[in-house]
C-alpha cells in the first residue's frame, strides 16, 4: 500500500535530490503533515522556494509552486499574495537564502507583516555549494571558507524577525518534529508574517565537517542534546545557555497585515480581477 501522504507529492518526482539523512526531507514531511492535519485545499496553496537545498523542496509538492531565485522567495510571495490574498502562501528557504542574500527581503516582509508562513531550514552553512560559512554558522566553526574557524557572530534570526515586525515566531530542531508540525499548523492559521526556524542536520556538510558526525542519527541526537525549551532557558543567563539552541514559540501577536492596508484603499480585499 502506498504511503497515504504520497498524494501530496507530484507524480513521478521521486527520487528527490536530498542527501541521505538530510533535514530538508524531514521538514518537507512535517509541512505535509501540517497540510494533511489542517485539511488544506491543495488547489489554493502556493509553495514558494528559491535556490538552495530547502528552497528546492517546493518542486516536489503537488501544489502550485514557484521554484524561484536564490534569496528572492519573499518578493515572489509578496507579488502572489497582493495579486490574490485569498491564496495560502508558504515559503521554504535555507539560512543562506534568508539571512544572507535575501536578508533585506526577510526584514521588509516581516515589517510589512505579509500574511505568509516562512519555514527556514537552518543547517548552519551553504550546503548545496559545498559547506561554506553562512550568517547562521556558529562561532568557531571550521567550514570550507573559514578554515581557521568562523570569527563572525551568527544572527539570532528569530530575534531579528521579531524586531522587524513578524507576528508569529518559533524555533525548533529536526529532533522536535511533532512540535514543528504543530508550529507549521499554527503559522499557516496565523494571519500575518509567520516565521519558523528549524535547526536541521546536514550530515554532508555541517555535521561532517563541524560536528565531525557523519551519521544522521548522531546528528539528530546532537541537536536534541544541545537544545533546551524556552521554559528551561527562562531562568538561565546567556552564558549558562551558551551555544545551545533555545526552542519554542517566541512571539504570537495580532497586528494589521500588509493586505489590511489595501482594505483602507479599496474597502475590501480579494483577488485582483
Amino acid at each position: 500500500m502506498p504511503h497515504p501522504n504520497l498524494k501530496y507529492l507530484r507524480k513521478g518526482v521521486l527520487p528527490h535530490m536530498f542527501c541521505p539523512g538530510c533535514s530538508c526531507g524531514q521538514i518537507l514531511n512535517s509541512y505535509i503533515y501540517a497540510i494533511d492535519e489542517l485539511g488544506l485545499d491543495m488547489d489554493r496553496l502556493v509553495t514558494i522556494g528559491g535556490v538552495g537545498c530547502m528552497s528546492r523542496a517546493p518542486a516536489y509538492l503537488n501544489t502550485d509552486a514557484i521554484h524561484g531565485i536564490h534569496g528572492r522567495n519573499l518578493p515572489f510571495a509578496t507579488g502572489v499574495k497582493l495579486a490574490n490574498p485569498d491564496l495560502t502562501v508558504v515559503v521554504l528557504m535555507g539560512d543562506g537564502g534568508c539571512a544572507a542574500i535575501g536578508g533585506n527581503h526577510l526584514i521588509q516582509a516581516a515589517r510589512r507583516n505579509l500574511d505568509v508562513t516562512v519555514i527556514v531550514d537552518n543547517n548552519g552553512s551553504f550546503a548545496m555549494t559545498g559547506g561554506q560559512v553562512s550568517p547562521m554558522t556558529p562561532l568557531g566553526s571550521t567550514t570550507t571558507t573559514t578554515a581557521s574557524g568562523n570569527f563572525e557572530r551568527p544572527f539570532d534570526i528569530c530575534k531579528l524577525v521579531e524586531a522587524a515586525g513578524g507576528t508569529y515566531i518559533s524555533r525548533w530542531t529536526t529532533a522536535h518534529i511533532v512540535q514543528l508540525t504543530n508550529s507549521i499548523k499554527k503559522g499557516i492559521m496565523h494571519r500575518g508574517f509567520s516565521f519558523i526556524e528549524v535547526v536541521g542536520q546536514c550530515p554532508t556538510q555541517f555535521g561532517r565537517y563541524v560536528l565531525k558526525l557523519r551519521d544522521p542519527v548522531e546528528n539528530l541526537n546532537w541537536l536534541r542534546e544541545n537544545s533546551l525549551t524556552i521554559d528551561e532557558a527562562e531562568d538561565l543567563s546567556e552564558e549558562e545557555v551558551g551555544g545551545r539552541i533555545v526552542v519554542g514559540d517566541f512571539v504570537e501577536r495580532e497586528l494589521p497585515t500588509l493586505e489590511d492596508g489595501y482594505i483602507g484603499l479599496e474597502g475590501k480585499i480579494g483577488a485582483v480581477r
Binding site: M42, D43, I48, A59, N62, T78, A83, N84, V272
Partner: protein, 381 residues
C-alpha cells in the same frame, strides 16, 4: 491631470508628462499590479501608478529594491494579474536575473527602463545592447523604444499585448529626454484600445501539460490557485514543468522559447518608413533620435538629396530581412545614436555589405540636432 487650454473638457487630448503617459498606457492596457523602487528619472511612473491603481482595484507596492520589484511583479503575473515595474539604467542592472527568470518560466511582464547616463541624469542610448543581452542564459527580448509622449502611451499598451501574446518579458525603453518631456497626446476611447490576454488552458488539470506549445510556440498559462498545480522553475524543465537533467530537453526548451519570438518578427517589429520609395540614402534611428532624424531627412529632401528614414520602434528582436531590404535599395545607411555607436553594429551585420553603413555617435547627454544628422547624410552624398 492637466488639460490643454482651449480644448473641450470632453475631448481626450491631454498635455502629459512622458512618465505619466507610461502609467496611463499601462492602466489602459489592463495593468493591475505595479512594484517599483524610486530612481530618477523614472519615479513619476511609480507615483502615477500609486495614484491610479486603487481606482481600478489594482495594487501598488514600493519594494525595498529593484530585485524585490521584479520578483514581486513576476509573482503577481503568475497569479494572473498584468504587472509592470519601472526603473532607470542603474536599477535595470539589478533586474537582469529576474528578466532571465521571466524568460525561463515564460511569465508575461513589462519592464520600463528609462535610460540615463552612467552616474548622471542626462539623455543616452548607452544601454541599447544591455536590453538585448543583459540577462544571462539564452533569450530573445522584445524591446520597444518610443520617440514621443504619445508613443510612450501607445507602445506601453503594445508592450503588455506582446508580453501576454508571447509569454515573454517586454521592455519599454524610454529615455531621460522623453520621460520628463510634456507633450500633447490623444488618449483613445476605451473601445478603441485593443488589449490582449494570455491564453488559458483548454483542458482540465489532469490533461494539462503547462509547457506544451502548439504551432506558435506559446503554451497556454494557468493562473496560480486555479487547480492546475503548475511548477514554475528557472531550471531546465520538460513539458510537465518538471526539472530535468536531460540536456536534449533543455536544448529543445530554449529553441522553442527563442523561436516563438524569432518566427513572429512581422507581428512584433513595429517600424515606420518616411520617403523610402526613391531613396538612395537611409537614416536608421530609434527613440528620440528618430525625431531629429526625420527633420534632417526632410531638410535633405529640400536640398534635393534622396534621403529616407527607417524609424524602428521595436529595436529588439532585430528584423534582419527588413534591414537587408533597405540595404539592397540604398547606397548608404546613417545610424545616429546617443552613445559611442552600438546599434549600428546590428545594422551593419544585417546590411551584409550591400550598403555603406555610417555610424553617427554622440555621447554627450543630448539628442543629435537635425544639423548634425544632416551633416552625416551629406557626407559623401
Amino acid at each position: 491631470m492637466s488639460k490643454v487650454e482651449g480644448i473641450d473638457e470632453s475631448s481626450s487630448f491631454q498635455f502629459m508628462l512622458g512618465n505619466h503617459a507610461v502609467a496611463e498606457g499601462a492602466v489602459a492596457a489592463g495593468c493591475r499590479f505595479f512594484a517599483g523602487y524610486p530612481i530618477t528619472p523614472a519615479s513619476e511612473i511609480s507615483e502615477r501608478m500609486s495614484e491610479k491603481l486603487p481606482d481600478v482595484e489594482g495594487r501598488f507596492i514600493q519594494m525595498e529594491d529593484e530585485l524585490g520589484s521584479i520578483y514581486a511583479v513576476i509573482g503577481a503575473s503568475l497569479a494572473g494579474v498584468k504587472s509592470m515595474t519601472a526603473t532607470a539604467s542603474a536599477g535595470y542592472n539589478y533586474m537582469q536575473e529576474g528578466i532571465g527568470y521571466a524568460v525561463a518560466t515564460e511569465t508575461p511582464i513589462v519592464v520600463v527602463d528609462v535610460m540615463r547616463l552612467r552616474g548622471a541624469e542626462q539623455a543616452t542610448h548607452a544601454d541599447i545592447m544591455q536590453t538585448r543581452w543583459g540577462a544571462s542564459g539564452d533569450h530573445e527580448m522584445i524591446v520597444l523604444a518610443p520617440s514621443s509622449v504619445q508613443e510612450l502611451f501607445d507602445y506601453t499598451i503594445e508592450a503588455f499585448n506582446l508580453a501576454e501574446r508571447y509569454r515573454n518579458p517586454v521592455v519599454v525603453l524610454s529615455e531621460m529626454t522623453l520621460s520628463l518631456m510634456r507633450e500633447r497626446i490623444r488618449i483613445p476611447d476605451r473601445g478603441e484600445i485593443e488589449t490582449v490576454d494570455r491564453k488559458i488552458p483548454a483542458v482540465p488539470p489532469e490533461e494539462f501539460l503547462p509547457f506544451e506549445a502548439g504551432e506558435d510556440g506559446v503554451p497556454p498559462m494557468a493562473v496560480l490557485g486555479s487547480g492546475y498545480r503548475v511548477l514554475y522553475t528557472f531550471n531546465p524543465h520538460d513539458e510537465r514543468g518538471m526539472i530535468t537533467g536531460d540536456l536534449d530537453i533543455y536544448d529543445e526548451l530554449y529553441r522553442r522559447i527563442t523561436c516563438k519570438i524569432r518566427r513572429a518578427l512581422d507581428d512584433i517589429v513595429k517600424y515606420q518608413t518616411f520617403f523610402m520609395d526613391d531613396a538612395d540614402i537611409a537614416v536608421v534611428a530609434y527613440g528620440s533620435e528618430a525625431r531629429s532624424a526625420l527633420e534632417a531627412v526632410r531638410r535633405a529632401r529640400d536640398k534635393g538629396i534622396k534621403a529616407a528614414l527607417l524609424k524602428l520602434v521595436t529595436v529588439w528582436p532585430f528584423h534582419d530581412a527588413l534591414m537587408k531590404t533597405v540595404a539592397e535599395q540604398v547606397e548608404r545607411i546613417v545610424v545616429p545614436e546617443m552613445n559611442l555607436g552600438r546599434y549600428v553594429e546590428a545594422v551593419e551585420r544585417a546590411s551584409c555589405g550591400l550598403a555603406e553603413v555610417t555610424s553617427l555617435p554622440l555621447n554627450k547627454g543630448r539628442v543629435h540636432s537635425s544639423d548634425e544628422i544632416l551633416g552625416g547624410i551629406k557626407r559623401g552624398a
